[in-house]
């Protein structure tokens, strides 16, 4: 069951520029696994080695942070949009 996964520009570098990807899975974790199969190296951008999300990466199911749902076990269904959002710091350097 494909679910749309949206990536910000930083992560698009791992997916060859693709910003919206149809991934397979019934939970967020399965979606991420499917992304890793399509784009080797993707998982390291969002997960720590022990299988937890990096603390500077947020994942949203529609408009809700999965930290406040069922974390990586959050269920997804067709029509959902999952967004992966690493922290950005851009602005001015010297302050």
């Amino acid at each position: 069951m494909p679910v749309e996964v949206r990536l910000t520009a930083v992560l698009q570098r791992v997916t060859g520029g693709a910003k919206s990807i149809q991934a397979e899975g019934e939970t967020v974790e399965q979606l991420l696994g499917s992304m890793e199969q399509s784009y080797p190296g993707f998982l390291a951008q969002v997960m720590q080695e022990e299988g937890k999300l990096h603390r500077f990466v947020n994942i949203y199911l529609n408009d809700e942070d999965i930290r406040y749902l069922d974390q990586l076990n959050t269920k997804v269904q067709q029509g959902d949009v999952v967004s992966i959002l690493p922290a950005l710091a851009g602005g001015s350097t010297a302050c």
């Binding site: 910000t8 520009a9 603390r55 001015s92």
Partner: protein, 375 residues
């Protein structure tokens, strides 16, 4: 169809608190007489004994000041919009509260300069004075700081502080609209003050030409009402977040990279940057603008959203971007909003805080010692 007349806050006690009223007449003078018949006492507020409009009151017909037309003999037609804008605002705002301390009188030039704001019911003379009494700190005179500084200055924010220790570099000029070619080599805070005051000499620009760090952040941030974050490194971003929260200041946050932008507002007690991103990425994991690039016009989009949120905070109008994170993708030209929350386990603003004073942010972010790199 009669003429619609906007009534500013100080006169609304005479119109039963109505923001706009209808009146009839063929000229501005007729309308003023008709208003007097409907709302006794109103004309005495607007014209002097000789039935002339004194210099401290501006009257607009369809957004044009009547002294540039035919004065009180300016003809009006049904459906026209007329507005009465006094330079001297009353002592109470819309909630009946005492007006903030500071300048109580707007000069005629100020009335004209800010007329497009003051003519709106959400601003009015009382709101304009709030803007003129506000103190806003902008962290970084770069991509985001530039549009923030300009729009806040144009709006008449009374005091704008700028923290930056960099000098203007040629590579800044693709996006940093505070600085121009002739400013290359000049301290950014100096260039910023020149540009701001060229746009609006009323603004008191306070320069903080030094790096923001744990030893000076409380002292600097404590001088301001609202903080705007335009920093490009995670150490400063967490420092500004923590200091703003500890001082009870509202933080208007924005960030940009490549074609992506984010903006949100942190009000103390309603979540902070640590609730959103508990830890910074390890150095090198998320590239900087210098490494990856950034679209110049994106700075204006996000910076202008920040400036809008600052003005809303000062005026206490609308729904602030609190509890919401705005995401902007310039390539697909899409805006989205996701929810943010206060995390009860947040080390800063959670139920059992462990960060109760400023820490070593370079160590927290694993960042090397900072060098100006002209981003």
């Amino acid at each position: 169809m009669p003429i619609n007349v906007y009534i500013p806050t100080p006169f609304r006690r005479l119109t039963g608190n109505r923001t706009s009223v209808e009146a009839k007449g063929l000229t501005v003078s007729d309308v003023l007489h008709d208003l007097e018949a409907r709302f006794p006492g109103l004309r005495a507020q607007i014209t002097d004994e000789r039935d002339e409009v004194p210099a401290h009151i501006n009257i607009y017909v369809n957004n044009r000041e009547i002294s540039a037309l035919q004065g009180t003999r300016t003809p009006v037609r049904d459906g026209d919009e007329m507005a009465l804008i006094p330079a001297i605002a009353g002592g109470a705002d819309e909630n009946g509260a005492t007006a903030p301390a500071g300048p109580r009188m707007l000069t005629p030039d100020q009335v004209t300069r800010y007329s497009r704001h003051m003519i709106m019911g959400q601003v009015g003379p009382a709101g304009q004075r709030k803007l003129m009494n506000a103190k806003v700190l902008i962290v970084g005179a770069g991509g985001l700081g530039s549009p923030n500084a300009l729009y806040l200055a144009l709006a008449g924010i009374g005091t704008i502080g700028i923290v930056d220790f960099d000098v203007v570099d040629l590579s800044n000029l693709q996006r940093q609209i505070l600085h121009q070619t002739a400013d290359i080599g000049k301290p950014k805070v100096v260039s910023a003050r020149e540009t701001i005051n060229a746009h609006n000499p009323d603004v008191n620009v306070v320069l903080h030409e030094e790096p923001l760090h744990s030893e000076n952040a409380i002292e600097i941030i404590g001088q301001y009402d609202i903080i705007v974050n335009g920093a490009d490194n995670f150490a400063t971003r967490y420092l500004v977040n923590d200091a703003s929260y500890l001082l009870g200041k509202t933080l208007v946050d924005g960030s940009i990279l490549l074609f992506d932008g984010q903006a949100t507002v942190f009000e103390p007690g309603k979540g902070c940057y640590r609730c959103l991103f508990p830890e910074p990425p390890p150095p090198g994991m998320v590239p900087s603008c210098a490494e990856a690039g950034v679209l110049g016009a994106l700075c204006a989009t996000i910076g202008s959203i920040q400036a809008t949120e600052v003005i809303k905070q000062v005026l206490k109008i609308g729904d602030p971007l609190v509890g919401r994170l705005l995401l902007y993708d310039a390539l697909s030209m899409e805006f989205r909003i996701v929810k943010t929350r206060r995390n009860p386990n947040c080390p800063l603003c959670g139920d059992h805080p462990t960060v109760t004073e400023l820490i070593d942010y370079e160590a927290f972010c694993g960042a090397p010692a900072r060098e100006p790199s002209h981003v």
